[in-house]
Amino acid sequence: MVQDRVLDLLESADWKDIIFRLTHYAFWKACRYAWKSGSADQLPGGKTPQDMALDAIEKVWMGVREWDPDKYPNLYTHLKWIVDSDIDHLFTSKEHEKTRRMPETTFDRASETPNPEEHLIAGENKTYEDDIRDELYAMVEGDEDLETLMLYFDEGIDKPQDLAEQTGWDVTKANNVKKKLFRKAAKLKDLIRKGEK
């Protein structure tokens, strides 16, 4: 019997691979925010990054966030958008109303004048970001590749293709540097968690 095309595509998707990558993505996305709990794996409402990933998958299956494969052929990208939007929503939810946001979203508004509260939060965030940056630089000291990577993060460049273009690394090298940073990831996560407290 000829079936609904979306159903066919969803049924043939590699859900094991998707849930692993999406949970990993949700964790790092959550690390961008300072949560009341002090941890990216304890989100408002008792949610975790894996809950956010599973919720996104459920929303697509149940048609709550319908996927249009003609417009957006990449299912994983569509799921990442849902995770982004849901985490942003959690962050702005009532349950999480008194919190700090990472600096990049509050400090780049040169044309706007922040109110005193925003100014205070922005100041706290700046300190927070500086602390993380200093500790990260210390962590990668002596490793030329990772030091270069940090410098590019400071310049707002993080895509492997852009890094490859800027540094002359090929994409494989950029991915290898990522693996190297992953090896330091446990320490990195502790650092971010500590910074959130």
Binding site: F20, R21, D108, L181
Partner: protein, 139 residues
């Protein structure tokens, strides 16, 4: 465009799993204290429930559309010579044709009030072609 901040770059870079194997990602998750077997089982369960719900919805939708077309067919004037073909069209629509064929038939019947033998023959041909096309697309 607004320049991305350091933390945003760091978390985007780390969250991008392109170029990393599934095993590598799994070990990353385990290090975070996530039970990957449990996670896989939960995703599989969502897919199982979602698939069942979608199949049911698809069947209900197809059933409703067929009934609608059947009603339309009853209300149209069909030439005497084409009466046999009317049954053939009905048979096709009650069968296992896909949404494409149903949409085509629906549009076809909405457009006119009466049908000759030639009209219905051409509709049957179109429906059979569409059915073949959909089957080919589905592999």
């Amino acid at each position: 465009m607004k320049k991305k901040g350091f933390i945003e770059c760091l978390t985007d870079f780390m969250g991008d799993s392109e170029g990393l194997t599934q095993e590598k990602i799994a070990s990353e998750l385990e290090e975070l204290g996530i039970d990957t077997a449990e996670l896989t089982a939960a995703a599989d369960e969502i897919a199982r429930r979602g698939s069942a719900a979608r199949r049911l919805a698809w069947r209900d939708q197809a059933k409703a559309r067929r009934a609608e077309i059947e009603d339309m067919l009853k209300s149209k004037q069909i030439g005497k010579a084409a009466l046999d073909l009317k049954d053939k069209v009905r048979e096709i629509l009650m069968g296992s044709y896909g949404q494409g064929a149903l949409s085509h038939a629906e549009a076809y019947f909405r457009k006119r009030d009466s049908f000759s033998k030639n009209d219905l023959e051409s509709l049957i041909e179109d429906l059979e072609d569409l059915n073949l096309l959909e089957k080919e697309k589905d592999g």
